[in-house]
């Protein structure tokens, strides 16, 4: 017995000694080789995970091209503006399954060199998630994938490995406010002509950038170890405007800042009637914070603002000469493009005789004209309403899926919510009971500050019943201006086949921020040109696509009498997701007025028709 343990001790000591004295005798010990192979296998696994989503982008002629990456199974692809500017409004895209699919241009941002195209032919394209580029550190692994020198023969991309050489880098544009690479990621992964538009992945298989640029020597445009990628967080800011089929401009405060004695101060204004001046900024004021980042240098500020689109509600904090600190939210103004669209060249005349252009030449000419049209579209306007509406359907189906895994899960059921209503400083001021039928009807019973009222949507009309029993049919406009109704209809209407159709035709209005996150802003326009806005945040914390209802209001800035409602604290209740907390807010900075917080949320079988019908004779009114 004693001997056995003594034996064990000796063996144990020997094992420890040999593992401590690593590599003696053998170059690489078996244990070390296992670790080395494990790390290699992890990288190979990361490659396998994402390689299917990389696109080799060509025009109609497939001799030259760039790259892109699919970020949604519907076939939406992120790439560079300069790739589509060369390829045209449509072309071919190859992916690792070996097939070539047609693609169409969706929207483009020449300022930041980003564009979105859409591959056609599948609704289940392999796609990759967008990561958080703020988490990227110098020294992190950086994998680039794309089609340098058009080398692929089977449409599988070239994979190159390097590290992040620098972050928050700035590469100036080509003039005319175009092709600026601000707050970009510098890498030494090999990036060559043809890699443009392709993804930069981290080792978790997330897109952290789109490669598009490099520093080159005079000897030619061949990689020398400096490549630049547009950060994924910038891409997120532009996705909604691009999906709206816009030509997107970048945003500016129309104010110039400079480093002065360790501070960043306002030096000049670029225009008359600059909005931020109306908000109190004066020459000499010190810029303290921008979009939540403390500002330490003008370079840093320039970097940050270059990642934002026009109309973005930027959060600016500045200090006045007397020490007063001002905190404002202000929509950025657009930096106009001085666009020189490619001249559509007619085919050269041969030998003096006017030759009839071949069908191929005619088609090329057509495409050139279409591209010229795209580049001269008024910035910020929807270029293709039909495509916009198709993309809108993708957005609302995502939003719908964030509520229920499938509409069948709630079919024939009623959602019952018991809320308490809190004031802005969290004091209880009332209660609320909401019932929502699976076909989008609802009844709200509110008691607030001692006063009770009820609202009903019976599937056709909106009704209000006062405490004294008085019933009023509300116009749709009035309904949109009633925050209690907005609170419910924004959610309930997502359960329908065509969300928000009751308020008019739905489209993607553009990109915006809601609850401090990049969001889609959807808009309905009715026959009277009255609008209703619904915002949906785009990504969850993991960078996965998670388009989710976030805010609703009849006003773009949630101003006016109605304000807006923010939906938050989403929880799962028996298979449906419901925002347990609805904040009633006002203004661009979403100032809290009151909240409805759910005490209980239940999914009940059956729909009681009486619940969703208003009783008694209606009185026509306001």
């Amino acid at each position: 017995m004693r001997n056995f343990f003594q034996f064990l001790i000796v063996m144990g000591l020997l094992q420890i000694l040999t593992s401590q004295v690593r590599g003696q005798g053998k170059e690489v010990s078996d244990e070390e080789m296992k670790l080395i192979l494990a790390a290699e296998n992890a990288r190979i696994a990361a490659v396998d995970k994402v390689i299917g989503s990389v696109v080799a982008i060509y025009g109609d002629v497939r001799g030259g091209g760039g790259s892109g990456v699919i970020f949604d199974p519907s076939g939406l692809v992120l790439t560079n503006h300069h790739v589509v500017a060369g390829a045209g409004v449509s072309g071919w895209g190859g992916i690792a399954d070996g097939n070539l699919y047609r693609w169409q241009l969706v929207g483009t941002d020449p300022g930041g060199d980003v564009a979105i195209i859409r591959l056609i032919g599948r609704d289940d394209f392999p796609f990759s998630p967008l990561g958080n580029s703020d988490e990227v550190r110098v020294g992190d692994w950086a994998m680039a994938m794309g089609n340098p020198f058009v080398l692929t023969e089977d449409q599988k991309p070239t994979v190159t490995l390097g590290i992040v050489s620098g972050v928050e880098r700035y590469q100036p544009g080509a003039g005319g406010n175009q092709l600026v690479y601000g707050n970009c990621i510098q890498v030494d992964s090999s990036i060559n002509p043809g890699n443009s538009g392709g993804p930069l992945f981290n080792m978790q298989g997330e897109i952290v950038g789109i490669n598009g640029r490099g520093s080159f020597l005079a000897r030619g445009r061949v990689n020398v170890g400096l490549g630049y990628a547009i950060s994924s967080n910038q891409l997120k800011n532009f996705i909604p405007d691009l999906m709206a089929t816009k030509l997107v401009e970048h945003g500016t405060l129309d104010a110039r800042f400079a480093n002065r004695g360790g501070k960043v101060v306002c030096e000049a204004f670029y225009n008359e009637g600059v909005e931020i001046v109306n908000q109190g900024l004066e020459l000499g004021d010190e810029l303290l914070e921008f979009e939540g980042y403390p500002i330490t240098s003008n370079d840093q500020f320039t970097n940050l603002i270059s990642t934002l689109p026009e109309t973005w509600p930027a959060h600016v904090v500045f200090k006045k000469a007397d020490g007063e600190i001002k905190d404002v939210n202000i929509r950025l103004v657009g930096l106009p493009y001085k666009m020189k669209p490619p001249r559509a060249r007619p085919p050269a005349k041969k030998g003096g005789k006017k030759k009839e252009p071949t069908p191929e030449q005619k088609r090329a000419l057509e495409k050139q004209k279409m591209m010229a049209k795209v580049l001269t579209t008024k910035a910020g306007t929807i270029r293709d309403l039909k495509m916009n509406r198709e993309n809108c359907k993708i957005v609302t189906s995502h939003m719908n899926r964030s509520l229920v895994s499938s509409l069948n899960a709630v079919s024939g059921k009623t959602i019952v919510i018991n809320d308490k209503i809190l004031s802005a400083d969290q004091a209880p001021i009332g209660t609320q009971v909401i019932r929502i039928s699976s076909d989008g009807r609802f009844r709200i019973q509110i008691t607030e500050e001692g006063i009770s009222k009820e609202f009903v949507f019976d599937g056709t009309d909106f009704w209000k019943q006062a405490e004294n029993g008085e019933i009023q049919k509300l116009t749709f406009l009035r309904a949109r201006l009633t925050p209690e109704i907005v609170q419910v209809v924004a959610y309930a209407d997502l359960l329908k086949e065509s969300p928000y159709a009751i308020f008019g035709d739905l489209q993607i209005d553009g990109g915006d921020k809601s609850q401090n996150s990049p969001s889609f802003r959807l808009k309905t326009i009715d026959a009277k040109s009255d609008w209703f806005y619904v915002w949906a945040t785009i990504f969850d914390e993991n960078g996965d696509l998670d388009i989710r209802l976030s805010k609703a209001s009849a006003d773009l800035n949630a101003d006016g009498t109605s304000g807006g409602v923010c939906f938050t604290d989403w929880n799962d209740h028996q298979g449906i997701h419901f925002p347990n907390r609805r904040d009633f807010i006002a203004g661009l900075n979403e100032t809290l007025i009151k909240s409805a917080v759910a005490d209980r949320v239940e999914l009940v079988d059956g729909i009681d028709a009486d619940v969703f019908t208003i009783a008694k004779t209606p009185i026509e009114g306001k």
């Binding site: 343990f5 670790l35 494990a38 071919w92 994979v159 190159t160």
Partner: protein, 444 residues
Amino acid sequence: MGHQRVFELIAERIEMMFELSQAGKNKSGVSVGSSLIRFRGPRQDRVAGFPVFKTIALGVLVLGVILSTSLTHLNAQEDQPDIGLSAGILLAPKAFRAATKKVLPCLVTIESFGGVGAVQGKIGGIRRQGEGSTTGIIVSKDGYVITSSFNFIQKPRVITLKTSDGSAYLAKPIANDNTRKLTLLKIQNESKTGEAKPLNLNVAKFMSEEEIRVGQWAVTVGIGFGDVNPAISIGIVSAKNRGFGRAIQTDANVSPANYGGPMIDVQGRIIGVCVPLNPKSSSLASGVEWYDSGIGFAIPLYDQSIIEKLKKGKDINKAYLGIQPKPAKLDGSGVKVVTVVKTSPAEKAGLKKDDEIVKLGKYIVQDVNQFGTLVGRFDSDSKTKITYLRGGKPMTSELAFTVPPKVTPTRPNPGSPKLSPAKKEDKGKKAQPKKSNAENENGK
């Protein structure tokens, strides 16, 4: 009971250390020992030999140590991307060195003498092409060596090679694989009577197709920097099936310093032979301009029939079809025949103008560019089937490729501007369809 003896030896050693340290101390130094005695409890020191209690405690501890060290390693093996993996990266250089050491015995250093005068014009490379030592890989026990054709651009009159054990031999080129830019050499070890002297050679083994994976480490090894020791460069396998399906692409450095040398994996297995390659150009030295741009190629040799063909003295050449194609549809897809060259393989197969080619061998035809890469996958003596539509009706014919009517010069002409990398760019631009999207001034 050897272990018991070892144990006692260790115990004695520690005892002696303890005694020595005691010798230098005064009475107060014994306090350490006293506290240990207290810890041990009463009377236990009275038991002869090693007490049972302590033995069990020690044994349990040792078991715990063994288990915990084994488990840490087990964890590292599982596919959890973020755990324990930095260690695997930090340790990788050890594997790079071990892998290089493992492959050295099957490498040879090649020296070339004489030949056509130095080619004018510039070519990428630390030396002018073919000058200085280059690398080769032994592929058979009877002295066949595979290397890059680039090393013999000057058509040297004399080739010697030195194996890893220092033996020097004469060698002569046997045949070229012009599709892979490889040259097979044979060691001339015939004695004066014509008998082959026995050679003591280490034959290289090449990895199979499945073993090569995109994302794995790739180490390129070569002696072309004029040093006796090989230089190594690290990258990953960037893609398979490049260069008309014949090459593995890497972002490790592939340059005249290692053409003909091996690209190996982290365990020392050979992925392929490093060669200069630019699939868009057929000149022998094309691809050299990418020497450190992160685009390099190595030829895998899991298909041993390539070596066997070359051993017979037969060159391997690119397949020639003999048609001028154009897109079949307005959107750029498909392939239609514009002209058929007389007496070409295409004519012999019965192809005519306006035929739409849909299948070549087992490959489906997608467009003109892809069709070019499909034809490139075949050799000049390959036979296959070609399927095409004539007036909408599908037809299939036997197809026998040949060499192109004019043999492409394997040596660039002196004074040709083709060789300058800077000028090559321009040539490249003209040769290819407009790459305006890739060549934008400020983008890629």
